[in-house]
Symmetry: C2
Subunit: 145 residues, 2 copies
DNA sequence: GGAAAATGCTCAGTGCACTGACTAATTCTT
DNA sequence: AAGAATTAGTCAGTGCACTGAGCATTTTCC
């Protein structure tokens, strides 16, 4: 029957937004490292020596997904992963020197990129957009843990 | 050095939003069909007999991605794909009866789901959120056609 | 009519993201 | 102290999404 207007569907718009973002990321920030990988580096700057589970809560990623992302960062020498001697279940994570250096470099670039990405909106609208997305995401994540 | 607050990063928020959405989709709409697959069905209701490239513009998905999604829908008997006799490069796509039936069923469910998803916001805020995301996504997609 | 350009699709490769099933280690209970 | 429950991580499987390379088929331009 009647088709629906996908532009009134937040899921569809969210996908488009994320996609557009990751394209711009590749162009303006880095082709070597992705936005989720940066999120992990950033979390480790804020909280060194955490395990994967804590990390996954922090960046809102699944524990399997975290394992993948961390594995890639380890492979590139940006993160070190060691078994916790006090609790043999945990992997303790920390940035390598190179990881810390890269993070520093990318912080300024991401700031610049965010400015470009949000340029079509004025200051108030930018603030509103971030706040509203945050509220919806928080509430939806609340629904299932 | 100083870590950044990821909640001021639209890309990170967009990913969270999309993720939260797809979780709710699985719970409230369907575990069999995904939101991108629904987008394709919906596009074919609106414009039957289009080729994959037109479809990809319509739902804002890459040509390779479209090929994957369509292949899954074909495998499930929801979409028919035939080589265009007038232009041997094109695949002409159309919904099967079952695809059309499923689309009808899902339209009502997606409407309900969107209501729940956006429930933390009032009417004005919902409208604002969709409008602002649309503007940012449009502009970013504009940058790289 | 034939070479060159453009178009539509496919395929391989990489990365994100989930679920569900499994293993291993720790903690809790009795 | 032994068995049960919880917790952390891994692994296989599926799906979305891109890039870049390649193939076949038009279309365009001489």
């Amino acid at each position: 029957m009647a088709a629906v207007d996908l532009n009134t569907h937040p899921g569809h718009l969210a996908r488009r937004l994320q996609q557009a973002h990751s394209l711009l990321w590749g162009a303006m920030v880095s082709e070597e490292i992705t936005s989720p990988q940066f999120a992990v580096l950033n979390a480790l700057v804020e909280k060194p020596d955490i395990d994967q589970r804590t990390l996954s809560e922090h960046v809102h990623l699944d524990r399997s997904t975290i394992a993948d992302v961390v594995a890639r960062l380890v492979r590139r020498g940006l993160v070190e992963r060691v078994r916790d001697p006090h609790d043999g279940r945990r992997n303790v994570l920390k940035l390598s020197d190179e990881g810390a250096r890269l993070h520093r470099k990318l912080v300024t670039r991401t700031t610049r990129m965010n400015r470009v990405f949000l340029a079509p909106l004025d200051e108030d609208e930018q603030e509103t957009l971030l706040r509203l997305i945050g509220r919806v995401a928080d509430a939806a994540e609340e629904l299932r843990g």
